[in-house]
């Protein structure tokens, strides 16, 4: 086991080369709906139990199914209303289980990135070859069903190995959502040496973390989103920032929670200097325009 991730060096926020987003925007805003499939009876993983109660675990399974049956369309209609294309963190098996959802998202030119095969299959315990095969399966499945190879990765259920990000870069990925060390994209050192970036995804703004872990009241969640935006928007004038709202259709789309989310979307998209975009577009813009300067700055900071 290592003392740190090994993927990046210390690089303080101040005095970095400024990021200029398209159209002179100061903040890149993206929404990442996690569209997941949880299995009712997954094989046991000795490092982490999929469900807290014995099989069949109806409470956990059925609320997640609610997200696909009911919640997805609700959130999609809201994103349509505010001109936001979702960047989907996708359980690849959902392409097979629920292609109807994939079709709706394709019609809207949403981005699909890989979130593993199922959210009940963890990286823990996989050999490197098995993890590579799982990631490759997810990439090929998504490409086959959406017509485009995914550029981004968020490990299933945020379960990682030491080489997760290395493997995804080697398999042709451009960015990862798995690291939470910054409010700007940052270059990552992967073992293949390929240009590869971390795009801020935010656990703090993640609805499941807010609602399930931190037990935030729905209206307060809406206020947290606005407060988070206000600070990043102000700082973005000097630095160029990213704000992501990661969502889950079984959380944010519940009837008692959607209104607070809508108010935040209306507030954020009502600002002029916001680039409403996708994870892939952020990564590509950064790689093309800012990656080289950032890499040089990091080398200077370490010297």
């Amino acid at each position: 086991m290592r003392e740190d991730t090994g993927y990046y060096d210390y690089w303080p926020y101040q005095n970095r080369p400024k990021i200029r987003w398209p159209g002179g925007a100061r903040l890149a805003f993206w929404v990442a709906p996690n569209i997941e499939f949880y299995e009712l009876n997954p094989p046991a993983n000795k490092f982490r139990a999929a469900w807290p109660t014995p099989s069949p675990s109806i409470p956990g399974y059925s609320i997640r199914d609610y997200g696909n049956r009911v919640g997805h369309v609700r959130q999609m209609q809201l994103l349509d209303k505010y001109g936001i294309r979702g960047s989907i963190s996708l359980s690849a098996a959902l392409c097979e289980h629920h292609p109807e959802i994939i079709a709706m998202c394709r019609e809207r030119n949403w981005e699909f990135f890989s979130h593993g095969i199922y959210n009940t299959r963890y990286t823990y315990g996989l050999s490197e070859a098995e993890e590579r095969a799982m990631i490759l399966d997810s990439i090929e499945t998504i490409e086959r069903h959406t017509g485009k190879k995914p550029a981004g990765y968020l490990a299933p259920a945020l379960s990682h190995s030491e080489v997760t990000i290395d493997l995804f870069a080697e398999l042709g990925g451009l960015y990862t959502c798995d690291l939470f060390h910054d409010d700007q994209p940052t270059p990552l050192k992967v073992r293949s040496g390929k240009p590869f970036v971390s795009v801020p995804y935010s656990l703090e703004m993640n609805d499941t973390i807010a609602y399930v872990v931190n037990k935030v009241e729905p209206r307060l969640y809406g206020q947290m989103l606005k407060d988070n935006f206000d600070r990043l928007y102000a700082e973005g004038a000097e630095s160029g920032t990213v704000m992501c709202i990661p969502t889950h259709n079984y959380q944010v789309s519940c009837p008692h929670r959607l209104k607070a989310f809508e108010e935040a979307l209306e507030y954020i998209t009502g600002h002029s200097d916001v680039w409403v975009t996708t994870g892939r577009e952020i990564a590509e813009h950064y790689l093309q325009h800012h990656y080289a300067a950032a890499t040089a700055s990091i080398a200077g900071a370490a010297a």
């Binding site: 299995e39 009876n41 993983n45 109660t53 049956r69 289980h97 315990g125 009241e217 009837p255 209104k259």
Partner: protein, 306 residues
Amino acid sequence: MNELDPLHYPVRRHGMDHDRYAWSMLSTRKPVHWPGGKTLALWVNVGMQFFPMNPQKKPLSVAGNMTMPYPDLRHYSLRDYGNRVGIQRLLKAFDRYGVKPTFAFNTRLAERTPALLRQVLERGDEISCHSWSMDTAHAGGLDPAAEAELVKRSIGGLRTLTKREIRGWISPGKLQSAATPELIKTEGIDWCGDWVNDDMPYSFRTDHGPLWAMPLSTELEDRFVLMDNLHSAQSWAEQVSDACDLLLKEAATEGGRILSLSLHPWVLGQPHRIKYLEQAMEYITAQPQVWSAHASTILDAFTAQQ
């Protein structure tokens, strides 16, 4: 490959990974119309619960159960408070706002408190079965023969005590074993409120014929919001009114919807919380498009249109 192979996916296919119900997105279904031109049905489910002081916790313990070393007087009596005092406050609130509650009874409570049962029976509201007690979890690990006896005793006993047709079932903690749907169907149950995967009823397969799954939200349940999420009662009332607004808005274009509220006399019946139940009832019933009805009445209106 065996089924423990982490890269083996035996049910990676179109639809669900089990055969209990068909995959169906709510947005693709035929719009439903409630009686009187209403668009939002209000289903208030009241958990009439008995938590024995000597729980066996087999195969497991559900939320609200005893947690202290025996005798756990504090939790026993705090739950019992709901059946003595709290319920009276809930009933007054329902009557004041013209709400028609459906009472999910633990059969052991109906047996132990005939006066309470009589009071509920005299109201004419629907009664459904909530298993024997809050210590009879229907969960994986329960012996199938024991569960069959438990289901039969709970439903049959409640029918004997109430002299009513009992059509609905809600498991303690909304847990089920693999056999629960078959067992309740065998005992003549029409609908079950355990699965929280929809906002509308849908057909649920059992080996002995279909059940209707009725959507009873856990996320908006008083106990879940107050005891698990530790939100204030005021926040609960806000969440209810926000849900009411959203569902009314959606129902205006997508067809009838159901606002289901699962309530517990031992939670909202406390003096410091009852005001917020009243506020929620006042807000909902002030909406002209809301139709308050018993669970089976809502289901019958739904199935008549299928």
